[in-house]
Symmetry: C2
Subunit: 110 residues, 2 copies
Amino acid sequence: MDKETVIFSKALADETRQRILKLICCRWLAVNEIVAELNLTQPTISHHLALLREAGLVLIRQEGKFTYYTLNQAHLVSCCGRLLINFAPQSEISTLVQNHLDTSTSPKEP
Amino acid sequence: MDKETVIFSKALADETRQRILKLICCRWLAVNEIVAELNLTQPTISHHLALLREAGLVLIRQEGKFTYYTLNQAHLVSCCGRLLINFAPQSEISTLVQNHLDTSTSPKEP
DNA sequence: AGATTATATAGATTACCGTCTATTTGTCAA
DNA sequence: TTGACAAATAGACGGTAATCTATATAATCT
């Protein structure tokens, strides 16, 4: 059983977490900036960020008293790819993904 | 907010449901056949199948007193694609998926 | 050092979810 | 029509998870 895809799906299975991921998709945001965007308390946001961190879905950078988060796109791509390969092996897209994951994880040709 | 990706993720956010999807990935199985494979009661399996049905992840065919289920690969591909486009727009794979979804949902050229 | 701000953690509460047993509904065969 | 089997639904129960308030930890500023 592919446990990783279950962990991944659980991490995404909440509207608040998807809103957070959308916010930090292509940029680094500090926790208080995320709090300012969503209508929730700071501990709630920290809780969700901890879950996302455990799922490997965020990258973290500490800077002074600020902690910046951004979405780990590579891991998300890898997990979506595994879902496609596991559950849609007959789809054309799966072979595309398969090739992509192969070439993007192996070292470059000389 | 993309509600569909939340519904999709919730549907996958359980090990039992992923095991069911794996079983019915490329074939039609009756409920009692699924029950026989997993170590759970028939109502539990029916409950999960209902959730998967509401998420659009299964196709259903009635035949006499048997009800056959199979994984709806097209819908799974579409949802994974939306995850990638939403959350990994900078990834190479996203443009591949984008093109794939465009061409596979529009009518064929004459 | 003390005050202030940023974030994480602890603990409580409430709602939701996975599973079970019991029952209902629907289909077929005798 | 009755009996047997397939599947869905109802209701109960225990566990998990989302949110909050309160507090702890850590860094910065005066």
